[in-house]
Amino acid sequence: MSSSDEHMNLLYRQIIMDHYQHPRNKGLTGAPDYYTVHLKNPSCGDDLSVQVKLEGDRVADVRHIGDGCSICCSSSSMMSELLKGETVEQALATIASFKHMASAEPYDADLLKEAVSLHGVAQLPARVKCATLAWIAAETAIRRDEEQARQPAATSTPSQPTGQDETRTS
């Protein structure tokens, strides 16, 4: 490993630890204009909630809270920071890029900024789910919220009376 690689790796570790220990955008809100997705990884117990607020075609805010390992929690924090302020189209491209990185497929590093620090999960198939949980939750929240916005309120699905909360296991 060259010394510049080593330098980069040190930097990446610092980024991960910083997000793990000082998560950004942490904590959920009760505000009604957020769409909440709650995801669990029942095999290991990771448990994560992500909230997204859309304004027009923009992701105006992202909140998250969870209980999981360093990778799960830091990834969630990075996701919230990165997607906040992006257009829906940009956000979905960023999410796709992250998922590609985690599965060792070609990806656009420019979109991921600090989140490239998590590229190493691709070498540990058993941990990929930890890294992608937050991004999958965000994607679900964005897509569902968009769908809802397109439908008049009266036709929203009756099985989900609040239309705001969703719990799934991954």
């Binding site: 990446y12 570790r13 117990g45 390992c69 360093s70 799960c72 998590l118 540990l124 058993a126």
Partner: protein
């Protein structure tokens, strides 16, 4: 665990280290190092005699049981039924008809729940369940109580994780119909005194159902002597194959129970409009059974008997004690069950390190432990943890593996290393 029993274990003949050669999995390498399998409470490794017995069935007399009258089918039936006798002897049952083959502990507990407890339970009745049970001995009862509008009552644990006779007595009422507790907890490794618990249950006119999945590995059951009504276990935790288990039930109780699975083998006479069913245990064994697996279970019990149960207990206890002592030297380690050596189970966490992060460090060192909630979320709530690490030992583990765990734990804080 009483003192006499402990003394007996500590003074019996030690195990021959050559037993390791019986387990092909112990020759496996992981990340370039000898694989240290310290997840025995999840499932055990299988000795050659078990693998060979199953392979022999498939290669030399692989035909169905009960059907047909030819000599090969007869041989398969004999081998299959021989296991029923071996199980009966192993767990101290009075008769082989009390031994029902199931697909595992989970299936056995569900069978008792649906076939025995469901008809018994009336609205307002109470059903007592241990507070830190495995989901297999918790969720079925919880759901049944919901359906029957009965009350689910939790039997508290003491600080070691045991449901003591006093604690059970404290929640029994004249409405209690059934008590479901484990023989040994898969998180805390605590052993329950089933004989004392059964006596309390019976005194209140209730039945005792024991989840023996972990217990049978570490304390040989005596189901008739203890007077438990039901006892369920899985073959795969006692060195046998996956896919098969046993439900022991008192014969008169089994006789009172309707079958849950209808099909071949379990019928007596099938008329156009009605069917009579065979007597237990066959009534509960509809369909072609897992024949090779049942034969494998028989071979596993033979293997245990040939080694001697006591020396297996001794080795497990010594290894567990060694690891607890080692981990106690590490100021960052919190051990949740420091006194339950007998179980071979150490449940712990490393301060500031999530169990999954730590598990990747162990993995890199070629060690498998369990990280997570261990299918026992009630136990996790009781410990106020969302997840823990669990190392669990078997008699074929050795001191070197135990020490590797202790050493690797010192490196748990470097958990990001595995990603770079």
């Amino acid at each position: 665990m009483n003192e006499d029993k402990l003394k007996e274990i500590l003074t019996c003949k030690s195990i021959d280290p050559a037993v390791r050669n019986d387990f092909p999995m112990l020759a496996v390498k992981s990340h370039g190092q000898p694989f240290a399998y310290l997840n025995n409470a999840a499932t055990s490794l299988k000795p050659r005699p078990v693998l060979e017995a199953m392979s022999r069935y498939y290669q030399e007399y692989g035909s169905s049981v009960f059907r047909g009258v030819d000599s090969i089918a007869y041989k398969a039936t004999q081998a299959f039924e021989a296991t029923r006798y071996k199980v009966k002897d192993f767990i101290g049952a009075k008769q082989p008809e009390s031994i029902v083959f199931t697909s595992g502990a989970t299936a056995g507990l569900n069978l008792v729940c649906h076939s025995f407890a469901a008809p018994l339970l009336q609205p307002g009745d109470e059903l007592v369940v241990g507070a830190t049970e495995h989901h297999a001995n918790y969720v079925p009862w919880q759901q049944l109580c919901k359906q029957k509008r009965a009350r689910l009552v939790l039997a508290p644990n003491n600080e070691r994780g045991e449901v003591t006779p006093e604690l059970l007595a404290s929640v029994m009422t004249d409405k209690t119909r059934l008590v479901a507790v484990c023989h040994m907890s898969n998180v805390m490794g605590a052993v329950n005194d089933l004989k004392a618990l059964a006596e309390i249950a019976h005194r209140h006119g209730a039945y005792l159902v024991a989840d023996g999945a972990q217990g049978i590995v570490h304390e040989r059951p005596d189901v008739a002597g203890w007077d438990v009504d039901f006892y369920a276990f899985s073959a795969h935790k006692i060195y046998g194959p996956t896919g098969v288990g046993v439900l022991y039930g008192k014969y008169d109780l089994l006789e009172s129970m309707p079958p849950m699975i209808y099909g071949g083998e379990m019928i007596d006479v099938v008329d156009v409009a009605d069917t009579t069913f065979r007597d237990p245990p066959y009534r509960f064994e509809g369909g072609t059974p897992p024949i090779a697996e049942v034969i494998g279970l028989g071979a596993a019990l033979d293997y245990i008997n040939s080694l001697g149960y006591c020396c297996m207990q001794q080795k497990t206890l010594q290894l567990c004690k060694r690891v607890v002592r080692g981990l106690q030297q590490n100021p960052n380690v919190e051990i949740y069950n420091p006194d339950n050596y007998f179980s071979g189970i150490v449940s712990f966490n490393v301060k500031g390190v999530h169990p999954h992060d730590a598990a990747s460090i162990y993995d890199r060192e070629g060690i498998q432990v369990r990280a997570g909630h261990h299918c026992a979320q009630p136990a996790m709530r009781w410990l106020h943890q969302s997840a823990t690490l669990r190392a669990s030992f078997a008699f074929y583990n050795n001191e070197e593996e135990a020490d590797r765990l202790v050493t690797a734990t010192k490196k748990a804080g470097d958990f990001l290393d595995v990603f770079f």
